[in-house]
């Protein structure tokens, strides 16, 4: 079954039982054991006259003429698209409050007792976003004069905050029951919503505590204006809690935005430098990924009788496009099918019960079996632990010693009081002396043990004498220790085959010719900053899916920020590369003169030569690797009307070599080539 598609397992059908074989599983865990590891974010955005006010045209070049409300919705729209890519299982919703209109599930004004939550308008229900949700939001934000939409009409009477909070409470209970992470993002410019009503204020405090007890975290995104700076002490400090319930050690405020000191951290918009949209977007972006632990109860053992508690997080992990799935088109609307497997005996196709299944290894053409207990025993290398074996200088950690992504560990006071200070001292020592700790790392029960190097974060260099407040790296990695799994001797491959026993070293003059090229082509700030390089395949995949889902036009050209800046390269090192090419020609000639037998017989002469004028040679490679056809041949076929006899790969190659677009189906390609031939 070669074309078998990977099917989706029904969520949790295999239960908590982890497959012992599959120990590469990087799934984040839930600490309580019973919750679903998912995140739900509900935006609560206030609608009022001031939120709808379009700022006057400013001289600022980044001046974005949108009302705060529209900015908030744009953020939500942006985030919705982003979450579909990065966390496709997580839910998101948008609740407007302070509106004249009300909307809550299937209620209407004739419902018994009227509206449960007057002036609360559930714009997008809390759920995994649907194409229609994205489309609706897009239309709202891109409308001609978006602020004048009927639903944005503010109510005449003030909205009661306790009502809003309880409305959110109901949404979370109904749509995100048992989620590990539930957050309410409040976006408002009103710092004292209960100014006139003391009773409502204390009711709001109670409703906020309800949310806290339900496990919902409230995050506030206040909007200040030059005329009015948002004062959290008037109301919001009573409803926001210091720590999120799921992570008692996490501190609610965000150190990165604290550089301004004295509380200005909570202010968005008062800064002229960046637009409200940018600052709100970056504030929300920094909160949007729920912190999910990979493990939470693995001790860090410094010595046999000396342990501290740490939690593990994955900071780096491949984000892959969603897998393709099967879709049933026979119903009212396209529906994704659930796949499942049925196990049958090969000989007679009779169904097999789980109890009849044995695991066996093939050895010498026959099967060797072990009991479940024996398999467990073979894989048991003791309890999960990060055990320090000893220390080595960083110079003993070559870059090639890498097999998979690292795990970040951060101290927790949960099991051992005092863990944080010990961890901090260890971090300090390793950083100061450029050491790493060699550890024995068993992340889970029955997981494959590895040796791992524990190394400190590389702090960002001082900018204007100021270090980053949180000790982060230049790319934003948090201060702390990382575990890098090391290869075992078994995992190191032998060197590639070569025709020379000793490597053919380049002579000094050629190295000298290369040196200025390296020196003059530093990346910006001399660093690789991942945030500057979105994955072009992933972005394109979702860009096309979005276009298909929303019935938009298919975009022509992808944006690919990973393509080198050819023009700059040419500008900066043109002379140097030409010089290097000349030197190379010379030293190769000399080498061949000294070693007339250097090119061993039986070896294909190199198809291309590295050269400074390689445009011609590149084409030659292509023509050889792809078995492509010459222009004459294509013209000949064209005259016979037989271009269609060529393969798609050949057609594409031909298009590429003539700088024609290579997109589209075979018919398109044929048409394009015919057009080109005619025009010549």
């Amino acid at each position: 079954m070669a074309d078998e598609l990977p099917y989706r397992s029904k969520g949790g059908a295999d239960g908590g039982a982890r497959d012992d074989e599959n120990d590469d599983d990087d799934d984040e865990i839930d600490e309580t054991g019973y919750k679903t590891v998912k995140d739900a974010v509900l935006f609560a955005i206030e609608v009022s006259e001031s939120m709808l006010r379009v700022p006057p045209a400013s001289s600022s070049k980044k001046g974005d003429r949108s009302s705060p409300l529209l900015v908030a919705l744009k953020c939500a729209y942006h985030l919705m698209q982003q979450r579909i890519i990065s966390t496709p299982r997580d839910k998101m919703g948008i609740l407007l409050y302070g509106t004249e209109a009300s909307k809550f599930y299937d209620e209407d004004e004739n419902s018994r007792g009227g509206w449960s939550f007057p002036h609360c308008y559930l714009l997008t229900d809390l759920d995994v976003p649907e194409a229609d949700d994205v489309k609706a939001l897009k239309e709202l934000t891109e409308a001609e004069s978006p602020e004048s939409a009927e639903i944005f009409k503010p109510s005449k009477e003030p909205v009661l905050m306790h009502n809003v909070l309880f409305c959110a409470n109901q949404v979370f209970q109904q749509k995100a029951a048992n989620f590990t992470s539930r957050r309410l993002f409040i976006v408002t410019d009103n710092d004292d919503p209960a100014s006139s009503n003391k009773g409502s204020r204390s009711q709001a405090t109670v409703r906020a505590k309800d949310l806290y007890d339900l496990g919902v975290t409230i995050e506030l995104f206040p909007i200040s204006t030059p005329e009015h700076s948002f004062d959290t002490s008037l109301f919001y400090n009573d409803i926001i809690y210091k720590s999120s319930p799921s992570d008692p050690e996490a501190i609610a405020y965000n150190p990165a935005s604290m550089v301004g000191g004295d509380g200005s951290k909570l202010v968005a918009g008062s800064n002229d430098g960046i637009s409200l949209l940018q600052s709100l977007l970056s504030n929300i972006a920094s909160k949007v990924t729920p912190k999910r632990a990979l493990f939470s109860s693995v001790p860090l053992e410094l010595a046999p009788n000396f342990r501290i508690s740490v939690k593990g997080y994955l900071l780096y992990k491949h984000q892959k496009p969603s897998r393709s799935c099967y879709i049933y088109l026979g119903g009212e609307r396209p529906q994704i099918v659930t796949g499942y497997t049925e196990q049958v005996a090969f000989e007679n196709s009779k169904p097999i019960q789980k109890t009849e299944i044995r695991k066996a290894y093939t050895f010498g053409g026959q099967k060797i079996t072990f009991s479940d207990e024996e398999v467990k025993q073979l894989r048991n290398f003791g309890d999960p632990v990060i055990r320090i074996i000893g220390f080595k200088p960083m110079s003993r950690l070559p870059l090639w010693a890498n097999i998979k992504n690292s795990t970040f560990i951060y101290p927790s006071e949960e099991d051992y009081v005092g863990s944080t200070r010990v961890y901090s001292a260890l971090h300090q020592k390793l950083f100061d002396d450029e050491l790493f700790a060699l550890t024995w790392f068993v992340p889970r029960r029955n997981a494959t043990p590895v040796m791992a190097a524990m190394i400190p974060t590389l702090p960002a260099e001082d900018i204007d004498g100021m270090t980053s407040v949180a000790g982060m790296s230049a790319t934003g990695a948090p201060q702390g220790l990382h575990l890098i799994p090391l290869p075992f001797a078994d995992d190191v491959r032998q060197n590639p085959p070569t025709t020379h026993e000793k490597p053919l070293g380049a002579p000094k003059e050629l190295i000298a010719a290369m040196r200025p090229i390296v020196q003059q082509l530093n990346l910006p700030k001399g660093m690789y900053d991942p945030s500057k390089y979105p994955n072009p395949s992933l972005q394109w995949h979702y860009r096309i899916l979005q276009a298909l889902a929303l019935d938009e036009d298919i975009p022509e050209k992808p944006e690919d920020k990973t393509i080198p800046k050819y023009k700059q390269i040419d500008k900066r090192v043109a002379n140097e590369t030409i010089e290097w090419g000349r030197t190379l020609d010379k030293v190769v000639k000399e080498y061949q003169a000294d070693n007339p037998d250097a090119v061993p017989t039986g070896f294909k002469r190199p198809t291309t030569t590295p050269s400074v004028t390689s445009s011609a040679s590149t084409k030659r490679v292509k023509s050889e690797t792809h078995d492509s056809v010459s222009e004459e041949k294509v013209r000949e076929l064209w005259q016979k009307g037989q271009i269609g006899h060529l393969t798609v790969a050949q057609l594409k190659d031909f298009c590429a070599s003539k700088k024609l677009p290579v997109m589209g189906k075979k018919a398109d390609l044929v048409e394009r080539i015919e057009g080109w031939l005619e025009s010549k």
């Binding site: 007890d213 002490s233 879709i327 049958v344 066996a360 001292a425 300090q428 490597p503 053919l504």
Partner: protein, 697 residues
């Protein structure tokens, strides 16, 4: 891979059954450890081209083609012709390899027979040919034919390895006391044979010792990219430079063999063996009209597509590639960065090597200049690799590696923007107050004393002394891989023998070396005193006394507000918060019990009103909260009673029909009875709790 043929010539004379040199097992059993290890390793590869033959010398009987024609070939038996060894052959061997009742044999004759077998089998084909002789060399050897035989071996390119039991080896420090003159003479004959014909004589002790270091089966290097490494765009700029390169894995995780699923039929005859399991893929869709709410659909009815959020996007067969980015094969350098700016922990995946195209000297020299230039200016390159047309681009880090035997670029995979999760954590070296002030003295910050004692401790635990490195990568072997392989080999030879212990060699690096522990004792004591770490007791009794109610940022005492609220009836639409609040604020056991009763009936009500599984998540969440609260309150019985009652009603069908799925959810969410192991106040045993989770019990 080359074809290989190995013949083991094993001395099975009576004397091989004796114990020597203070060993607890016979010479033969001792030597066979080596043979079993090598043969089972060969079987493991499953390679047809790895062939093995076995000749016994000193056997009671004679079974070889030369015995008829000439004297001197008695007591030599071909026990296993040259072939791939499969399990039946392997399992037949232990019975064949037993000491005989005679000491009459000539090992040189056996070598000649093995050589004959080898040439008969390999003919003119390309084989790597090895004959391994294992003997204690206590029998007579007629040395007339040594030179002739050696010449034959040399001509046929057969390597002879002699593993001599208690042979002398000055280099290895092996020497047998009171060696008999006959054995001394035999050792010399064999040495001469090897010197003339090619091969080596090794003391058995050395061979046995070497077994503790696992054989690493080399993987044939295969390029994962063959093309150009470019700087600039050669199609548009004539200043672009390009080098023909090949890419090979440098590291790749070697996983233990995986077991596949087979079925045993309990009704069938027991010796019928295991039958292969075949997976049938089936598909179902939601359908409210069908019983169970779903309906099976046929693969032919289905289109392929993707999910965009909750929306299914079908893509027709002709457009399957529409979401794929058009890319062209190539390896581009984006630019360079100083090596000290590399954030080492950012690397994903395994590493690779980039070398010049094989046999292309020009490419080798060109690449070498880049490698050395990077090395000299302490820089690395950032590259963009597209392995073949239409493949997804990856961003890589290319760093120089200059070694005696290889010069190359080491390639690591770098993350894209989407691969990075920007979690924020408080800094470790400072603590900030809510208002943003920096505090330098805090219980979470290390004191001077702690910093100093940590520094001393780390210094006392160094694994590197001068050039000596303990536990380097080439000395550490995957414990799981070798344990499982070892167990499979052992089970193949001892079908009823249990499983062997994991050899100590694979566990040595799971602990701190004893000498280091000894050396760091004092530093550790001081460190632990300065750290003053205290284990949190498993459960804090009467938690309300220890844990205050959480307060909002303003520090407002919310408890007072709740006193005014007078919540006594738990409202079903705010059940969890209100239940928690009752647990937090009541000291009165009667109110606690009442709260539990209320929550229990709300949960049951949710179940009975649930359309399908609509309310199950809420029920599971409610049970989870209740269980947690009861654990903290140290009243497990309350929870257990609620769960028992719920199950009773579920089974009796009082909460709606077909609620088995809910019970399944409760089971996989690990919300079973609280056992004595979990809470000492429970009287439920683990076994009872397990049995309780079955719906039939």
């Amino acid at each position: 891979m080359d074809k290989e043929a190995t013949i083991y010539v094993i001395d099975l004379a009576k004397s091989m059954g004796e114990k020597h040199a203070g060993r607890s097992i016979s010479d033969l059993d001792w030597a066979l450890q080596y043979v079993w290890d090598k043969i089972t390793s060969a079987v493991f590869t499953g390679r047809k081209t790895l062939q093995i033959g076995i000749v016994g010398v000193g056997t009671d009987h004679t079974s070889n083609p030369m015995a008829k024609g000439a004297d001197g070939y008695n007591h030599i038996s071909i026990l296993q012709p040259i072939s791939q060894i499969l399990l039946p052959q392997l399992q037949a061997l232990p019975d064949l390899l037993r000491p005989s009742k005679t000491d009459d044999r000539d090992v040189l004759s056996a070598i000649i027979i093995a050589g004959d077998m080898m040439t008969q089998h390999c003919r003119d084909l390309k084989y790597k040919k090895t004959i391994v002789l294992i003997t204690n060399a206590t029998g007579n050897i007629d040395d007339d034919d040594v030179e002739k035989t050696a010449n034959f071996f040399k001509r046929e390119k057969i390597e002879l390895v002699v593993l001599g039991i208690d042979f002398d080896d000055r280099d290895y420090g092996a020497k047998e006391e009171d060696k008999s003159p006959l054995k001394r003479k035999n050792e010399e004959i064999l040495k001469k044979m090897v010197d003339l014909g090619g091969g080596e004589v090794v003391a058995m002790q050395e061979a046995i010792d070497a077994l503790s270091i696992p054989d690493i089966r080399p993987v044939r290097p295969t390029p994962t990219y063959k093309g150009q490494l470019r700087l600039g765009d050669p199609e548009r700029y004539d200043t672009a430079l390009s080098i023909d390169v090949e890419r090979y894995f440098k590291t790749s995780i070697k996983r233990p063999p995986t077991a596949s699923a087979y079925a045993v039929r309990e009704d069938g005859p027991p010796d019928e063996g295991l039958s292969t399991v075949h997976n049938l893929y089936k598909y179902k869709v939601k359908d409210d009209d069908s019983s169970g709410g779903t309906r099976d659909v046929d693969r032919d009815e289905l289109a392929k597509g993707f999910e965009y959020g909750r929306t299914a996007v079908a893509i027709s067969d002709s457009e399957q590639n529409i979401t794929k980015l058009e890319t062209r094969m190539g390896y581009d350098i984006l630019g360079f960065i100083p090596i000290q700016h590399v954030e080492r922990y950012m690397m994903l995946d395994n590493s690779s090597m980039i070398v010049g195209q094989k046999g292309n000297d020009r490419a080798a020299i060109a690449l070498s200049s880049l490698v050395h230039a990077l090395h000299e200016v302490e820089s690395v390159a950032v590259g963009r690799l597209v392995k073949k047309d239409m493949a997804e681009p990856i961003i890589t880090l290319l760093s120089p590696l200059v070694a005696k035997d290889v010069e190359c670029l080491i390639e690591n995979i770098l993350p894209f923007a989407e691969d990075v999760r920007s979690y924020r954590f408080p800094a470790l070296d400072k603590v900030l107050t809510v208002s943003g002030k920096e505090i330098t003295q805090h219980r979470n910050l290390p004191s001077e004393d702690l910093l100093q004692s940590m520094s001393d401790f780390v210094d006392s635990m160094s694994l590197v002394h001068g050039n000596e490195e303990q536990m380097s990568i080439d000395e550490t072997f995957s414990p799981v891989l070798h344990t499982i392989e070892g167990a499979i080999k052992y089970r193949a030879l001892h079908p009823t023998g249990g499983i062997p212990e994991t050899p100590e060699a694979f566990l040595a690096y799971s602990r701190q070396p004893e000498d280091l522990q000894e050396q760091s004792k004092g530093a550790l004591t001081r460190l632990m005193a300065a750290a003053d770490v205290k284990k949190v007791p498993p459960r804090t009794k009467g938690r309300r006394k220890y844990r205050e109610t959480e307060k909002p940022l303003s520090g407002l005492n919310v408890e007072d507000l709740f006193r005014n609220e007078k919540r006594t009836q738990i409202s079903p639409d705010n059940a969890i918060p209100e239940f928690k609040q009752i647990m937090q604020h009541s000291d009165d056991m009667k109110r606690v019990k009442d709260g539990i009763q209320q929550l229990a009936s709300i949960l049951q009500n949710w179940v009975s009103k649930s359309f399908g599984d609509a309310n199950y998540d809420r029920v599971v969440e409610g049970l989870g909260v209740l269980r947690q609260e009861m654990l903290e309150l140290e009243e497990p019985t309350f929870y257990n009673d609620v769960l028992r009652d719920l199950k009773k009603k579920l089974v009796a069908g009082k909460l709606g029909s077909n609620r088995n799925d809910l019970w399944y959810r409760i089971r996989i969410s690990k919300l079973g009875l609280i056992t004595h192991e979990v809470s000492q106040f429970s009287d439920v045993s683990q076994a009872d709790a397990d049995a309780f989770m079955s719906l039939k019990a």
